[in-house]
Symmetry: C2
């Protein structure tokens, strides 16, 4: 479902880092590439486990760590409850709805964001919190 450029790019990052493409790792990577819902470890495990009965949670944790370290996947710290993961490496920001808890992709600001002086910046994260359109309109209805 995802374009092969993206998959190949991820595979390149992994093999370049000397990481074997085991079945489990491919399954987890594919899941992330095909489901742009910013899944958690629990999401990934619950979805893959039926078709990969021997898959363990630890493997999901290990694989995600590897994917993040190799740069193929981003780790999102927007949710205090738990970590979400995102295989979309294009510049974008995230919005978390305080009502339904869902994470949305939103555009990265159009203006250039300058990194702080004197610091060596690897990554700039922009997050929005509030109500998503769906929850905003249903809140209005219910009051």
């Amino acid at each position: 479902m995802q374009d092969n450029t993206t998959l190949n790019n991820a595979i390149n990052l992994l093999t370049t880092a000397g990481i074997r493409l085991s079945h489990q790792r491919m399954a987890i990577l594919q899941y992330l590439l095909n489901h742009r819902t910013h899944p958690t470890v629990a999401d990934i495990y619950d979805h893959l486990h039926p078709n990969h009965p021997t898959l363990s949670r630890t493997t999901v944790y290990n694989t995600l760590k590897i994917l993040v370290e190799s740069g193929a996947v981003l780790q999102l710290d927007i949710d205090p409850e738990c970590t979400h993961y995102d295989a979309d490496l294009s510049p974008h920001a995230h919005f978390m709805c305080r009502h339904c808890g869902k994470l949305y992709d939103v555009p990265f600001p159009s203006h250039h964001i300058e990194a702080p002086e004197g610091f060596t910046t690897d990554r700039i994260t922009i997050s929005y919190h509030g109500l998503c359109p769906t929850c905003a309109s249903s809140e209005k209805t219910n009051n």
Copy 2:
């Protein structure tokens, strides 16, 4: 040590919300106002406990929840390890060093950051990850 405007502002927010200013709550609030180090629950408990022997961790958790809900304190989600708290309500961003783990206050971007269309945005968070000046220079030295 902190200016009274800030303290009074926090007190106003709390009393307006009908929250009693117990000794424990005042101690925690004062600690946050006097220590702009983005402390964690553990930091706060460890620093206050010697002088408040009966203080419990649960009270620190409860109080921080109240302070955040009343708007007197910000909860920072920048660190995947645990939650940090910040009593500085002026607009600023944070930088987390991947080497020493410290959180730094850095300027909020000078350009206006537009909120995503269709969403009701309560809060915009900007975080930077990388190396702080201290760790960047010591890494250079050690290589």
